[in-house]
Amino acid sequence: MMWLSSGFVFRRGTSVYHRLDSRVKLLISVLMFVTTLLVRSLYELAAVLAFMIVVAAIATVLRRVARTMLFTAAFSLIIFVLNFAITRNLETSLLYATRFVAIVVSTSLFFITTSPDELEQVMKTFRFPRDVVFAFVTAVRFIPVMFLDTIQIMDAQKSRGLELEKGNVFRRVRNMIPILIPLVVNSVVRSGELAEAMESRAYGAVPRPTSLVEYRARATDKVVAVAAVIVFAIAAYSFYFVLPARIL
């Protein structure tokens, strides 16, 4: 949950990156994501990760991204071990494990700098059905709420003598039942209440409701978008035609 909270929950910011049009932020994240898939060596991947760190620094979310990388490292260790067990190739295993971290960081950079409202706008731009947009954005919006719920439930159960950190793996999994059941039940109840509240406030009354805020791309956004595409094109070209091929 900590990892989810740190890596994927939006917090309001005032950096240049936060102020970018959400569609441009999505474009940058998608391009970074694709680039991580294109790289063929650890050196190239290190360059892409360094670029992401620069973006995180501009967005003033470096500490949160660092924390995300740290939490992701646990999963990438599993990827490394599995890959190494199968391929017996250290470099390939390292590449895959690090690539996972880079993929998570590229996605995380979008979510931690884009508010649910902006996310809604992005999805509307791609003409997703309204119900799908609403369901997705609501889910994102409720992540911090569920995080708080989890803490409160854990507090309540710990106060009744539940020791979450005690015992072997199976016991620890079993100890999660008193946390998970209230969390799921609360979420189901809350979603039902939310649906009723939305309907009582005319959700779905007209097929195309108006928006409170209309997002328009500024000249800066357009310049950044073009620059992002150029940087991506240069990177992709370099990886395949300029840098020595180190196919792994």
Binding site: D149, I153, A156, S159, R160, G161, P178, V185
Partner: protein
């Protein structure tokens, strides 16, 4: 005894929830902690069970420093009924819910049965013994959470906003339960906004604002201190306000609200 020694606590978002709180709660005392939202009331009581550890200062429960003791160990002495019962109910039946903590503490099965039966009877939940806790009404869920806490007979009982969602009859019963706990020598700490509920109990009142203790004393005194209550944004009990106005009249029938209350109770009997 519960002792807060110059306790400071800062939330992750940088908000100073407790700011140099020093407080002693003697065994057998009934203490109400009042204050506006965000005053630090719940943060304060979470320190008693070690759910939160102070940034600076110490919290001692019967001489044990909460920094060095686990929540599970402390909860054997301190039972907390949190505000939202939906945050703790998960078992298949009401009796299993009550027995959860007892099993965690390693009570022998015959004693678990005895304590469960006692809890069900005390809170009038016998007919729901085999029912799912999730199908109970709000008031019943609240009573069940209290039964869950009292079942293991903790020395200290902390009730966080116990009157939320309770009707007047339930509130009266709850006040009776607090009285019963107090008379049986338990230390009772009630965190509440509900001044009207607290006033007849006449606890020691701790008034909090912005993580600090603004006032500490008997309810009969503090509830008449309009300046203190205003600065803590706590409403004065209606009865106190009424008698304060009455006292300004030339031939005021009572010297203070407590005297009036005693007279009214005598008349009622």
């Amino acid at each position: 005894m519960i002792e807060f020694q110059d306790v400071t606590y800062v939330h992750q978002n940088g908000v100073r929830a407790l700011d140099g709180v020093s407080l002693k709660i003697e065994p057998g005392e009934t203490v109400a902690i009042v204050g506006e939202n965000g005053a630090g009331k719940t943060t304060l009581v979470k320190h008693v069970t070690g759910l939160l550890k102070p940034a600076t200062g110490n919290v001692l429960v019967d001489g044990q420093n909460t920094r060095e003791t686990s929540t599970a160990q402390l909860s054997r002495k301190v039972g907390v009924a949190f505000q939202n019962p939906d945050h703790q109910l998960f078992s298949e039946s009401v009796e299993e819910e009550i027995s959860f903590a007892l099993r965690n503490f390693g009570f022998p099965p015959p004693l678990v049965d005895k304590r469960v039966k006692w809890g069900l009877e005390l809170f009038g939940l016998e007919e729901y013994r085999k029912s799912s806790p999730l199908v109970l009404s709000g008031g019943e869920k609240k009573r069940l959470t209290l039964a869950c806490i009292l079942a293991w007979d903790p020395e200290v009982v902390i009730l966080d906003e116990p009157t939320v969602g309770q009707d007047s009859i339930q509130k009266e019963k709850l006040a009776g339960t607090i009285g019963m706990l107090a008379s049986s020598g338990k230390t009772v700490v009630v965190v509440s906004h509900d001044i009207e509920f607290l006033w007849p109990i006449q606890p020691r009142v701790v008034v909090m604002k912005a993580g600090r203790v603004l006032g500490d004393g008997p309810a009969s005194e503090l509830m008449q201190d309009r300046g203190l209550l205003d600065s803590a944004r706590v409403a004065q009990p209606q009865l106190v306000e009424f008698f304060e106005r009455l006292a300004k009249r030339p031939r005021a029938p009572f010297a203070d609200p407590l005297e009036a209350r005693r007279w009214a109770e005598g008349e009622a009997e």
